[in-house]
């Protein structure tokens, strides 16, 4: 019986838990509730992936109302994979949050933070499982609103303006998306993804479809922080509480990317994204420019969180490149990088949180001697950085490999070259950090071994270990990403 409800449970569990958090209002109990949600949903997402891979698509009609009338949840290999990423990052993030949040957020507001966090997670899960474009909008707003709240818990007062700016950008984005699906509804009379996919090909020549597509793409591009619509991201990541940044970096933009993929490849007619509107060229260009340019901007940042926030935009660029290739291999590379980037960036932000706890600062200057003071924390940042560059034995290498082969498959040798140049720019900012942490010696200060607490190190290193493991054995991630790409593009590579 339980297996029947898996897809709904993913949303229902956090939705049920969030009000509990708000009722009990204890910082400890709300953390426990959030952790329980994480455990349940992580197991649940694994079960979903297993079920999808063994017995095919899961279709769940909410309230028993079948698709044209009711809202349905529909999960195939693509969303199952994204769900897995979101759930596990959430679980690790919550585990990490307890001590990290304790250091940053006053006790009386911690329960609200966890409530918002759980809601955010339920929103992200909802976006992923939903098979109804309007329902996606609702969950998008649920996750966004709670994200704004989460950001505003930061210690620095600038988190407030960051949250407000994100709120304004996010609302515009969501409204664009809403306009887009409004046009689609006016045209087809349905909001169900599967129905839309059926009806749209016949209408592909109408301008309305193109306009709708434009609005939807624009809205989602803001949400996924695709260059040049990324302005909200650096501040939001830089000023949010460290645990929140770690969670957001791994998940928030990912859900938007997924919706983008779903719309561009599965709902809109075949080659609408690529040949009919040539949007893929724009996405590709935005992606590769962002991959190189924002990495270059990252070199000049003095704050670690801001530096890696810029790096996140760059990594989204790589994902966009995969999308822009508009091929099964390209989408598979994007999926893979979604997963890999979640692993590496979350680990990096967690390690930065550990740095913050011990030194009270996240500036690059705080890294001085960090290589000796906190070898484990620093090693986590280092391995994450290597992964961003794409050094072998890390997941980043696998991503790059897939992406470059996808580019070469279409004979875009220049693109492959640019992707690899992007790696070198990434190396520059990673190296900047490494030199300060390991080679800048300050002879006056006595070096005291001062590692981040274990409760922060363990989740960080869980992700780092996963990063290395999946960098060596990418069978699981690679095949799952390929399956996901096949599910979403309908083409077997």
């Amino acid at each position: 019986m339980l297996s029947f409800h898996l897809s709904a449970l993913q949303v229902v569990i956090p939705l049920l838990a969030a009000p509990l958090c708000a009722i009990f209002r204890g910082p400890r109990i709300s953390w426990l509730i959030a952790l329980a949600v994480g455990l349940a949903c992580a197991v649940n997402s694994l079960a979903i992936l297993n079920q999808v891979n063994t017995s095919g698509e899961i279709i769940y009609a909410l309230g028993g109302w079948a698709a044209p009338w009711g809202i349905e949840y529909r999960i195939d290999s693509a969303n199952a994979f994204i769900l897995l990423i979101i759930s596990f990052i959430y679980l690790v993030g919550i585990f990490y949050a307890r001590d990290s949040i304790k250091a940053e957020v006053p006790e009386h507001s911690r329960c609200w933070l966890y409530t918002a966090w759980i809601l955010c997670f339920s929103g992200l899960s909802g976006i992923t499982v939903s098979g109804d474009v309007f329902n996606v909008f609702v969950f998008l707003e649920v996750s966004s609103l709670s994200t704004y709240i989460l950001i505003s818990f930061g210690k620095d007062r600038r988190c407030l303006t960051a949250a407000l700016r994100y709120l304004i950008m996010g609302t515009i984005a969501a409204t664009f998306y809403l306009i887009g699906i409004g046009f689609l509804y006016a045209l087809t009379g349905t909001l169900n993804m599967a129905d839309l996919a059926e009806r749209l090909p016949g209408l592909a020549s109408q301008n309305t479809v193109a306009v709708a597509f434009g609005f939807v793409v624009l809205g989602l591009a803001i949400k996924m922080a695709l260059f040049p619509l990324h302005a909200w991201l650096p501040n939001a990541y830089a000023y949010a509480p460290n645990a929140v940044t770690a969670f957001l970096a791994g998940t928030a933009t990912k859900a938007a990317v997924y919706v983008f993929m779903r719309l561009a490849f599965a709902i809109f007619p075949d080659d609408f994204f690529s040949d009919l509107t040539s949007t893929h060229v724009i996405v590709l260009a935005a992606g590769i420019i962002s991959a190189i340019l924002t990495s270059a901007i990252a070199i000049f940042q003095d704050d670690l969180k801001r530096l890696f926030a810029w790096s996140s935009i760059g990594q989204i660029g790589y994902i966009a490149v995969g999308l822009g290739l508009a091929s099964s291999a390209g989408v598979a590379a994007s999926f893979l990088h979604l997963f890999n980037h979640a692993l590496m960036k979350t680990a990096i932000f967690m390690a930065i949180g550990g740095l913050f706890i011990t030194t009270g600062s996240t500036t690059i200057a705080a890294l001085e001697n960090a290589g000796r003071r906190m070898p484990w924390t620093m090693a986590a940042i280092l391995i994450g950085g290597f992964s961003l560059i794409g050094v072998p034995f890390t997941t980043g290498f696998i991503s790059k490999w897939y992406l470059v082969s996808a580019a070469l498959e279409q004979n875009h040798w220049w693109l492959a070259g640019l992707i690899l140049i992007g790696s070198l720019v990434t190396a520059a900012y990673v190296w900047k950090i490494v030199e300060i942490a390991y080679f800048r010696k300050n002879p006056d200060t006595q070096i005291v071994r001062q590692e981040a607490p274990l409760s922060l190190l363990i989740p960080t290193w869980v992700l780092v270990t996963a990063n290395i493991y999946f960098g060596i054995d990418a069978q699981f991630t690679g095949s799952t990403a390929t399956l996901a790409a096949t599910a979403i593009t309908g083409i077997t590579p």
Binding site: V391, L420, I421, W431, S479
Partner: protein, 485 residues
């Protein structure tokens, strides 16, 4: 224990040193070199056992992981790799002995870190040597770059850091920008990266593509230090001498030329390579590098810098051997890898010994030093002869085969480059020895004594190796014959 699994132990054995140093080293810091030396001996014996089993039956491929379908991390010993592995692991023993005297004598700090990364670098070099496909080769190639980085910046000075930056950016840049690109392209074209005798490319792949690929491969393997990607090697000389000796005369740079030989023999195949017009032009680049570095070396007063430029030039001999695309060239290239390894390590040992005993780095200061340090300078002299390629050292055989290769290619420009290059190397190496033995010292060096005894032992072994290889080059020659047939 079959040879197949022993291949894996060859990689693991050096890592044992890491574990031992990290655990025992805390208790007894003096044990580092002893640990390294004993682990080195174990590694050498393991490599030797793989080598011995090679004659009976081909060593089977050992797949460690398969990161994604069709691309595996796999090991397989073949003649060229065996030669490289034998050389690297043997010279590691010698270097460990040398290192004991040098690092203590020179008062270096952070010995634990130094020895740990040294061992990791050797393990990576073993991985490069035994790689069964381009993917594995690339992985260990990068691991080698990264693990030697802390060794280059060991001193921690501003100069060392700058050197480290150049080192990393040139090596990572070329390998990620060109080599990885070439590998993925090859994989897309052929569906395999396995090293196969005779090459992997089908006949229907266009010449333009293959030309482009060859350029990418040759320049992408930045460790071969072909101009214009040679800058990292001289700057890396800020590293402690054992590092320069083993890694920048043997393991790292030889990994580069080794990779080029591998690509030429197993990815392209000698026959296909010969059909590509571009190989001739790349050979000219190598010839130019030989010539240019010899001129630069002549003008360098710093001993290590002169040796570094000499190394770049000698590496280009090997690249040239690979690129003339005939059996003799490849045989010569492979043998030169070995001969130059022994010769150059002796020279670097000598440079380090002079630094430790006499605190001198500039050649102009070394007048008469040979009389104070006769053993050191005699060994140094043998090293010079080996590099020049004159009897009674093994260097002669490799130069001979290289010359044969160029003659076969009937490109007289290359023949000339080889001969002139050898003459020039005599011109920049011999004066050092002459100055040391025949010129009167400048009086200030009265306190100079012979270098520590471990350094001398190491030097005698490596210099002795150069001479022994003159009389017994058969095993290397046989291995190379196996390779080309």
């Amino acid at each position: 224990m079959s040879a197949t699994t022993v291949q894996f132990y060859c990689l693991i054995a050096p890592l044992m040193a890491v574990v031992l140093i990290a655990t025992l080293g805390r208790v007894v810091p003096k044990l580092y070199e002893t640990i390294n030396a004993s682990v080195a001996i174990v590694t050498f014996l393991l490599v030797l056992s793989v080598y011995n089993s090679m004659g009976e039956a081909p060593v089977a491929r050992l797949v460690l992981f398969e990161p994604f379908a069709g691309v595996a991390i796999a090991l397989q010993a073949e003649p060229l790799g065996m030669l490289f592995a034998l050389m690297a692991s043997f010279l590691w023993i010698v270097t460990s002995i040398y290192s004991y005297g040098y690092m203590r004598g020179h008062g270096e700090t952070n010995l634990a870190r130094f020895n740990i990364f040294f061992a990791i670098a050797i393990s990576s070099a073993m991985g490069v040597a035994l790689a069964a496909n381009g993917f594995t080769l690339f992985l260990f190639y990068e691991a080698l770059t990264l693990s030697t980085f802390p060794l280059v910046t060991h001193a921690g000075t501003e100069k060392a850091k700058r050197a480290g930056r150049i080192y990393l950016f040139l090596l990572l840049g070329t390998s990620v920008g060109f080599l990885l690109f070439a590998l993925i392209w090859t994989w897309k074209l052929t569906g395999t990266l396995d090293f196969q005798a005779g090459g992997v490319f089908d006949s229907d792949i266009g010449t333009t593509t293959l030309n482009a690929l060859l350029i990418l491969y040759v320049f992408g393997i930045g460790k071969a230090a072909l101009m214009p990607f040679h800058r990292w090697l001289p700057t890396a000389m800020v590293a402690p001498t054992p590092v320069s000796a083993l890694l920048h005369a043997v393991a790292v740079v030889k990994a580069g030329v080794f990779a080029i030989l591998k690509v030429c023999v197993y990815i392209f195949g000698i026959d296909l390579l010969g059909e590509l017009e571009i190989h001739r032009y790349l050979a000219y680049v190598a010839a130019f590098t030989i010539f240019a570095t010899a001129i630069i070396a002549l003008r360098k007063d710093n001993l290590k810098a002169r040796l570094a430029y000499s190394t770049i030039g000698q590496l280009s001999y090997i690249v040239l051997g690979a690129l003339v695309a005939n059996a003799a060239g490849v045989v010569g290239g492979g043998m030169h890898m070995l001969m130059h390894g022994f010769g150059k390590i002796t020279l670097f040992f000598g440079a380090g010994a002079i630094l430790v005993a006499a605190h001198k780095t500039e050649i102009s200061q070394m007048r008469g030093i040979g009389r104070r340090m006769p053993i050191t300078m005699s060994a140094f002299f043998i090293g010079c002869v080996a590099i020049i390629g004159a009897p009674p050292t093994g260097g002669m055989w490799s130069k001979w085969n290289l010359l044969l290769g160029t003659v076969h290619s009937s490109d007289w420009l290359l023949v000339a480059a080889l001969i002139v290059g050898s003459l020039l190397s005599a011109a920049y190496l011999l004066p050092i020895a002459v100055r040391a033995f025949y010129l009167p010292d400048d009086g200030g060096s009265t306190k100079i004594k012979e270098a520590p005894v471990t350094i001398l032992i190491a030097m005698m072994i490596s210099a002795g190796g150069c001479v022994v290889l003159f009389f017994a080059p058969d095993f290397a020659f046989d291995l190379m014959q196996m390779l080309v047939h």
